[in-house]
């Protein structure tokens, strides 16, 4: 009897598992406008973002879906210049394939157990208009690095977002620790036998993204090349494809690739990021103060140069300087930490995604590869940033008097005394 019950129990368990699997399969690939097992009445926003920004979109998207004012995020990873093109031309969210790389649309499910570190489910959009408008574009480098057509329409604005750093990566078994800008130029600028920047002399072991991807735009500028001048293996369609190529290389020493540091931060066990020495610099530096920390100290103070802001692109109210779409405006204000009266706090998601809020930066620049200048954030958040990164710590004085209250000659901001 006990055995029979055990067998029936097993059947029941398998049956439930199959049912759950079937429901999951049904949800993955539904039309975005008619999701199985989801409340399709929840307000939504369609976003195109660089794949380096996907971790932030998923983290913030989950909180928005759990918010008392729910907002469902549909998003698609795309190269920055393609995003610029779509937002400047009023494109709709239709099916897209860039070359041979499909660009699936994904969504944040209502399930509170959804793990932003896992893949978000996909849904389908029409092949041709009419389709939902793309309300927000999130690039990952200066739009001035993209082809300037089409021109920016008067009713579309470009707003600052957090700072994104990039770097050269190599196989975990490589003995290399650092690379100079000159080495990068000689390695990526020449075919085999030309540049002689040992050990990166095998073209098919030098990996890059496509020429419109922010990773390629910012990294090529850091070594004074144009994306089209980089001699590498055939373009990798995604950052994940670069990681796979670098990890699987059977010649670790000659292997090199380019990657956003927030993706590197998630894959430190698998790959190695090289310290970078820019033109005119005396030493090479990691993005962080050490190879094992996460403080982005060298990005923030100007010792590590391959970085750029993430531009937020959206329609603006005519004659105004604010984003017109309320959901896009909410998303941007949360990311910038400037939104009041919301039950979602965006800044921790920015920090937790490996990005640097503008308020934590001490330097700025006008474009990819441009010189740095000192920057004083009007409402700095460097102390908060330092404290809240993984392994975070800060020498700043903690305060509990509330934001904007006087504190040690400066102001209390997010729990710490800042200079102003």
């Amino acid at each position: 009897m006990r055995i029979r019950m055990g067998i029936w129990g097993l059947f029941a368990t398998v049956g439930v598992a199959l049912l759950v699997a079937t429901r999951a399969d049904a949800a993955n690939g539904d039309p975005c406008a008619a999701l199985t097992d989801e409340d399709n009445g929840v307000p939504s926003i369609y976003i195109e973002n660089g794949d380096t920004q996907e971790p932030l979109v998923k983290k913030l998207g989950k909180l928005l879906m759990q918010s008392s004012t729910k907002l469902r995020v549909f998003y698609r990873n795309r190269p920055t210049c393609n995003i610029r093109n779509d937002l400047f031309s009023g494109a709709q969210m239709v099916t897209v394939v860039d070359g041979t790389t499909a660009r699936p649309v994904r969504y944040i499910p209502a399930d509170p157990a959804f793990d932003p570190a896992s893949a978000a489910p996909t849904c389908t959009v029409p092949d041709t208009p009419p389709a939902p408008p793309i309300a927000l574009g999130i690039g990952a480098t200066y739009l001035s690095s993209c082809p300037q057509t089409p021109a920016q329409p008067a009713d579309v604005g470009v707003f600052d977002g957090p700072v994104q750093a990039y770097g050269f990566i190599t196989n975990k078994n490589s003995s290399q620790v650092a690379i100079t800008a000159e080495e990068g130029y000689l390695a990526y600028g020449f075919t085999e036998g030309g540049g002689e920047a040992a050990p990166w002399v095998v073209q098919n072991l030098r990996f890059k993204r496509g020429n419109t991807a922010s990773t390629t735009l910012t990294m090529s500028a850091a070594i004074r090349l144009l994306p089209t001048q980089m001699k590498a293996a055939p373009d990798s369609g995604t950052s994940e494809a670069i990681i796979t190529s670098v990890v699987n290389s059977n010649a670790p020493e000659a292997t090199i690739g380019i990657l956003g540091t927030e993706l590197y931060d998630q894959r430190r066990a698998d790959i190695k990021l090289l310290a970078f020495k820019s033109f005119g610099q005396r030493f090479a530096y990691f993005p962080d103060s050490t190879s094992t920390s996460f403080d982005k100290q060298n990005v923030r103070d100007g010792h590590y140069l391959p970085w750029s802001p993430t531009p937020y692109i959206a329609k603006v109210t005519r004659g105004a300087t604010t984003i017109a779409d309320p959901n896009a405006r909410r998303f941007h204000e949360l990311v910038m930490g400037t939104r009041a009266g919301d039950d979602v706090d965006g800044l921790p998601q920015v920090v937790g995604s490996g990005l640097v809020p503008t308020c934590a930066m001490k330097v700025t620049r006008a474009g990819d590869g441009a010189d740095l200048a000192l920057y004083d954030a009007p409402a700095p958040c460097g102390c908060y940033f330092e404290k809240n990164v993984p392994q975070g710590m800060t020498a700043c004085t903690a305060c509990t008097v509330g934001d904007d209250a006087a504190c040690n000659g400066g102001k209390c901001r997010r729990g710490f005394c800042e200079a102003r």
Binding site: V177, A178, Y185, L186, G194, Q281, Y285, D288, S289
Partner: protein, 105 residues
């Protein structure tokens, strides 16, 4: 005889003070992560191929290799820091004689 002893003591004290000041001002983070077996770095870790860097001098007169109060781009990227500094000065045979980048082919 006594004045001579005083002079020697003064010289040794000055030397000791100079050493202490040098250690105190030197950025101890430098060369914390040597590049083991890195191609171009071997045997060349201490040299400065980054060009002239006039950041003043240490109290003992030795040249300083970073800027305390950076203002310009060059000073910002070479500012003094407690971050790890990785020496990297490879010999690159295809650079131009003046260290410039060769034109692309």
């Amino acid at each position: 005889m006594r004045p001579n002893i005083h002079r020697w003591v003064a010289v040794w004290l000055a030397l000791a003070l100079s050493c202490i000041l040098h250690i105190g001002c030197d950025d101890g983070s430098a060369i914390k992560e040597p590049s083991p077996g890195s191609g171009g770095d071997a045997g060349n870790a201490g040299s400065d191929a980054g060009g002239a860097l006039d950041a003043g001098t240490l109290p003992d007169g030795a040249p300083k290799d970073c800027f305390d109060d950076p203002k310009t781009h060059f000073e910002i990227i070479n500012a003094c820091t407690n971050a790890v500094r990785v020496p990297k000065n490879p010999t690159l045979p295809t650079l131009l004689p003046d260290g410039g980048l060769p034109p692309l082919q």
